[in-house]
């Protein structure tokens, strides 16, 4: 449905648009990080965001996640204009971001990580005193992770005992468990082996099928080509391509990123 020019999409498909930025610009001093950038993600769609280093990917992710405010332009969730003052505002609105460096607290259990910052407390007086409902959280974490295809035999196991791929699976599972609309994944397959990266891509496919909008930022072009429906290419702060993944092959994508095509 979508084409290289966003304005060409019909009104029917705009109704499905979940999250959108319009004409976003952001400067750091005299450096133009984003120049009149527009992009959107629909429910059940995985959009790949690619570009060379310095193309503006990180800045765009920070605008989308609420970490940075754009100098100009609009941010729309479900067609309604929003202003994120902090990432917390975006999280509250249903947008979860998985930063490549944030990770998990390795000394805590899987379920403690899934529920970090959103712990459930026991019923009654003990709960008022802040005592945690660990059993319930363990069970729910187990279910939530299972729903996106991550099987944890014991969600009370400490994260430090998991491998890199397993940790990333838990981190994604955590975002999915809490997101209600959009998930931003910043380099989720970085530093992972081929098999573990494959598992992470499987999870992304499952997440997509549940009707979330997923924005997938990656340098690993085969992963982008495999898992996305549409690819947005940034170069020097501008969007140079926004087209269905089927219209790209590895060579064309690389050429678009580097500007050689």
């Amino acid at each position: 449905m979508s084409s290289a020019t966003a304005s060409a999409s019909t009104s029917a498909s705009t109704e499905e648009v979940l999250y959108e930025v319009r004409n976003i610009s952001k400067n750091y001093g005299s450096v133009v990080a984003l120049d009149n950038v527009s992009m959107k993600v629909r429910a059940g769609e995985v959009v790949g965001l690619v570009g060379d280093n310095g193309a503006g990917k990180s800045t765009l992710v920070k605008v989308l996640s609420g970490a940075h405010r754009p100098d100009s332009g609009e941010v729309l969730l479900d067609g309604i204009q929003r202003h994120w003052n902090t990432p917390h505002d975006a999280i509250e609105a249903g947008i979860e971001t998985l930063y490549q460096e944030s990770g998990l607290a390795p000394h805590l259990s899987v379920s403690a990580n899934v529920f970090l910052g959103r712990e459930e407390v026991k019923k009654g007086l003990l709960g008022k005193l802040g005592f945690l409902a660990n059993k319930e959280m363990d069970q729910r974490a187990f279910q939530d992770l299972k729903n996106v295809g991550i099987a944890v035999p014991e969600s009370n196991r400490s994260v430090s005992q998991l491998s890199g791929g397993q940790r990333q699976a838990v981190a994604i599972g955590r975002s999915v468990a809490w997101a209600s609309k959009v998930i931003l994944l910043d380099e989720p397959t970085n530093h992972l082996g081929a098999r573990q990266a494959g598992e992470v891509l499987n999870i992304i496919e499952q997440v997509k099928s549940k009707g979330f909008g997923v924005i997938f930022i990656s340098h690993t072009l085969p992963h982008v080509l495999r898992v996305t429906d549409r690819i947005v290419v940034l170069r020097l702060g501008k969007i140079v391509a926004d087209a269905p993944t089927s219209t790209f092959d590895a060579e064309k994508l690389l050429g678009t990123i580097t500007g050689l095509i």
């Binding site: 607290a105 970090l116 802040g130 005592f131 945690l132 099987a151």
Partner: protein, 336 residues
């Protein structure tokens, strides 16, 4: 299709598992020490000596419990000994004044207790502000308050003890229930409650999360600065309580009370299995660690060894604790 997070169960036998459990090892060490000292001198195995060990243990465990929270967050509180000294001195002045005005002894003691804890909270707040607002690393921030408040102890008292408080103070520290005195029982209950709070509550969960990965904690929406502030205030409050106990025991506020208490507190926490890098630590470990420290001190004196050997024994215990931590991490395949 599903990502299986499986881990082969440790093939080690139950006995081997127990030997990897620091708490279990600490209990063994404690039993071995009591046995050794009792065999060397049967006087050690008496109620009077146990009472003395427990009375020494109270201020150490109070400081060490607060220090456990701080160390789990990845910080350190070097000021706990000075808090003990300064809160003891300030409460001594307060109670001397109240006594001079013929205020009822129990009221005087109650106000004295509040004053000591308030002084501790105040110094804890100063530590927290230096760390979270002025962004001074905990080691340096609390080194500064260690020096400043020990100095104030001397300046305010002229270097001498502050007495003339309520007469009934010292009676409170006489053993009443076996080797325990009344404050000792209160401290045991307090330690249990704080232990449950560390291991079972949201507050405790955040304490571990911050020490484990403060970036992850912050991005999960935890107010890291506010939490650290509470943790340093808690450490100060418990040390203030320790200062009040030492006042009761001596019936004077001594400017040298709690001197080098920070070393005992940190030693107890480390022997108890906490990692200075943060994210790891248990209240039971700290309780046992502090009990081992005070047992060594009394034991060496009773078997006639020069008390300065205590330092050497404590150093060996710390080395052994840290070594066993490294060993357990290594066998788990963790980072070394």
């Amino acid at each position: 299709m599903t990502t299986q997070i499986t881990q082969a169960p440790t093939p080690a036998s139950r006995a081997k598992g127990l030997l990897k459990n620091q708490q279990f090892i600490l209990v063994l060490v404690l039993i071995a020490m009591v046995t050794f000292f009792s065999l060397k001198n049967h006087i050690f195995f008496t109620n009077a000596v146990f009472a003395n060990v427990l009375s020494d243990w109270i201020p150490v465990v109070l400081m060490a419990i607060g220090e456990t929270f701080v160390i789990i967050t990845g910080g350190i509180d070097l000021s706990v000994g000075s808090v003990v000294g300064f809160s003891g001195v300030v409460t001594a002045f307060a109670m001397r004044n109240l006594t001079a005005h013929n205020v009822n002894q129990n009221t005087t003691l109650a106000i004295g207790l509040l004053v000591a804890v308030a002084v501790g909270c105040g110094i804890g707040l100063i530590n927290a502000l230096l760390i979270t607002r002025a962004r001074i690393v905990p080691f340096v921030a609390t080194l500064a308050t260690l020096g400043a408040f020990r100095g104030l102890c001397i300046v305010t008292t002229g270097g001498g003890p502050v007495g003339e408080g309520p007469d009934s103070a010292i009676a409170l520290t006489v053993p009443k229930y076996g080797p325990f005195n009344s404050p000792g029982l209160v401290v045991v209950v307090l330690v249990v409650i704080i232990g449950l709070y560390l291991h079972k509550s949201r507050f405790g969960r955040y304490t571990y999360a911050i020490g484990s990965n403060s970036f992850a904690a912050r991005s999960a929406g935890i107010n890291v600065k506010a939490h650290l502030t509470k943790v340093y205030i808690l450490s100060g409050a418990l040390s203030g309580l320790a200062g009040f106990y030492l006042y009761l025991r001596l019936s004077v506020g001594s400017p040298s009370s709690g001197q080098s208490g920070e070393l005992d507190a940190i030693a107890a926490v480390v022997i108890g299995g906490a990692a200075l890098a943060g994210g790891v630590g248990k209240i039971t470990g700290t309780v046992l660690g502090s009990l081992i420290l005070t047992t060594v001190t009394s034991g060496l004196i009773i078997i006639g060894v020069a008390p300065n050997w205590k330092q050497v024994v404590v150093a060996l215990l710390i080395a052994a604790a840290v070594f066993s931590q490294g060993l357990r991490n290594w066998t788990k395949g963790g980072d070394l």
